[in-house]
């Protein structure tokens, strides 16, 4: 029988991760690479490499036609999009469906339904999943005043209907600032997304980011693989993730798992996905945020506590296999923490630091896992994101995993470029972090100012 062939439409550590999963499954691989990536670790590991254009992402990794062409030319049976780039663009699965290529992810229709904020919210509403009190799309300030009255108290937050990543967002704590904030946010939304429509929601001041991993197959089976806490963020970017979330009350935990399974089952979700929630620490409630219809950066912490290889599982279900596990088979063991090691200079306001890695020494030991595409002598390009490696440590308890992380961070040596390792070391040593008692603003409000002070 002819071997199956998967085209990997990504780069960096996730391309390496996918290629290795394919190798384990005895599947051939084709990597699409920009001119900047033809010598990458993923390119060396893949069976075939197709150069799809110049380094700039719009001319290579975001060029859908080139990726479909590469798949057709090489006779690939399937495309794995990884995360980022085209991973959540419904046009990619649509193009795969048209060209008889298996897409390793959900159907384009599902992706569209979950990717659009308004339809995702109405789907959550239909499934009785809690959301923060808030409005439908707002256009005039009169509507805003009425909505804020309904919400009942400040603070509130304006969000762009078409938005994401914090753009067009404004938090309002005083009534007098409401009008200004509305004007600025709607103007920014118009500039950035071409649509001035805003939402207004009650702003959760003391919030945790907790998400549920799910995976479904083409036969209507869907299970969850527990939760991850990703409250350690800077500028809406996750820095540290862990599983299971510490100090999460059982009733809340179970309700969130049910909500995530219900929501994704209701659309026949048929690959790996993540349902993101905000947990209000003061009210002990949770609210639906969004569904990410792809594999996520932080998937290894789930793999480490469940023993399930999520990437292999998503490839197999995409090729039409039923899920290899039932919900009862999922057993959670110990604790896992992931730190994102990036080429950002912790001592210089996290200024990106491309260049050549002249020395690269990895930590080791039985409780350490590293997902990386870097090695001594490799070049970190200015064209792509700064993620160098994901350092994952495990332990029987959270304290063990955390102690292992401190050791591993101290052992991790990268020279030639600047990194964020010194900041991660500072972060994991904090008492609040050790206590598992942080919220999404903690890094920016408390830790960064203290870190900057320490550098002086």
């Amino acid at each position: 029988m002819k071997k199956r062939k998967v085209l990997v439409a990504n780069r960096g550590e996730i391309a390496v991760r996918i290629i290795k999963a394919c190798q384990d499954l005895d599947i051939e691989t084709v990597l699409v690479a920009s001119e900047a990536d033809t010598e990458s670790m993923a390119a060396k590991l893949a069976d075939e490499v197709v150069c799809i254009g110049p380094p700039h992402v719009t001319l290579s990794y975001l060029d859908l036609a080139k990726i479909i062409d590469a798949a057709l030319q090489t006779g690939a049976d399937a495309i794995h999009p990884g995360y980022g780039f085209l991973a959540e663009n419904p046009e990619l699965p649509a193009a795969c469906e048209k060209n008889d290529i298996v897409f390793i992810g959900p159907r384009s229709e599902t992706m569209q339904q979950l990717g659009d904020k308004i339809s995702a919210r109405s789907l959550a509403e239909k499934n009785d999943i809690p959301m923060t009190d808030g409005s439908k799309g707002l256009r005039s300030f009169k509507d805003v005043e009425a909505e804020v009255q309904k919400i009942g108290s400040l603070p509130v937050v304006f969000k762009a209907a078409a938005g994401g990543g914090g753009r067009g967002m404004r938090i309002v704590t005083e009534q007098g600032n409401l009008k200004d904030a509305f004007d600025i946010a709607s103007n920014e939304a118009l500039q950035v997304f071409g649509d001035a429509t805003l939402f207004v929601e009650r702003y959760v001041q003391n919030a945790r980011h907790v998400e549920v991993q799910v995976i479904g197959d083409n036969f209507g089976n869907l299970i969850h693989l527990g939760q991850r806490d990703c409250s350690a963020q800077r500028r809406y970017q996750k820095i540290i993730e862990e599983a299971p979330p510490p100090n999460l009350p059982d009733d809340l935990r179970n309700k969130m798992l049910d909500a995530a399974v219900e929501l994704t089952s209701s659309v026949g979700y048929n690959n790996a996905g993540t349902v993101e929630f905000l947990v209000d620490k003061d009210r002990n409630e949770f609210y639906f945020m969004e569904v990410n219809s792809r594999i996520q950066v932080e998937h290894p912490v789930t793999e480490e506590i469940t023993g399930v290889d999520l990437v292999k599982e998503q490839i197999q279900v995409a090729f039409g296999a039923p899920l290899s596990l039932n919900q009862e088979d999922i057993d959670f063991q110990g604790h896992a923490i992931e730190c994102r090691i990036t080429a950002e200079d912790a001592r210089d306001s996290f200024m990106p630091s491309p260049g050549d890695i002249t020395y690269f020494a990895l930590p080791g030991g039985k409780n350490v896992r590293i997902d990386t595409h870097c090695h001594q002598g490799c070049t970190i390009s200015p064209y792509y994101d700064p993620l160098l490696a994901k350092l994952i440590t495990t332990g029987n308890t959270r304290a063990d995993a955390l102690a292992n992380m401190e050791t591993a961070l101290a052992e991790f040596k990268i020279e030639g470029i600047e990194t964020n390792i010194s900041f991660l070391q500072f972060l994991v040593k904090q008492l609040e972090f050790a206590a598992g008692d942080i919220q999404v603003n903690w890094i920016e409000h408390t830790i960064l100012p203290n870190f900057v002070e320490l550098l002086k």
Partner: protein, 87 residues
């Protein structure tokens, strides 16, 4: 006040290996053209590195004598981007 002689050209250099852009976004006019008179605080270009855009200010008052790189080019840390004649 720079130590340079009035007749010497002052280089504006790339502070980081990055992609050089002359315009704030596609379709808009460039920040500066050759021959423009600029202030110390005038933004002269953008440097994009790892999805992060940094605006570069002239750092010196004067006339833009020469722009040495094309918009969209990769520049290495230390490369000269423009030459300014101090005024």
């Amino acid at each position: 006040m720079t130590a340079a002689n009035k007749n010497d050209l002052v280089p504006i250099q790339a502070t980081v290996t990055s992609v050089f852009y002359r315009k704030p976004r596609p379709g808009e006019p460039p920040f500066v053209e050759e021959g423009d008179h600029i202030e110390e605080g005038t933004t002269v270009c953008l440097l994009e590195v790892m999805k992060c855009f940094n605006s570069v200010s002239a750092g010196v008052k004067g006339k833009v004598e020469q722009i040495l790189v094309e918009s969209g080019d990769l520049v290495e840390k230390g490369d000269t981007l423009m030459l300014i004649r101090p005024e």
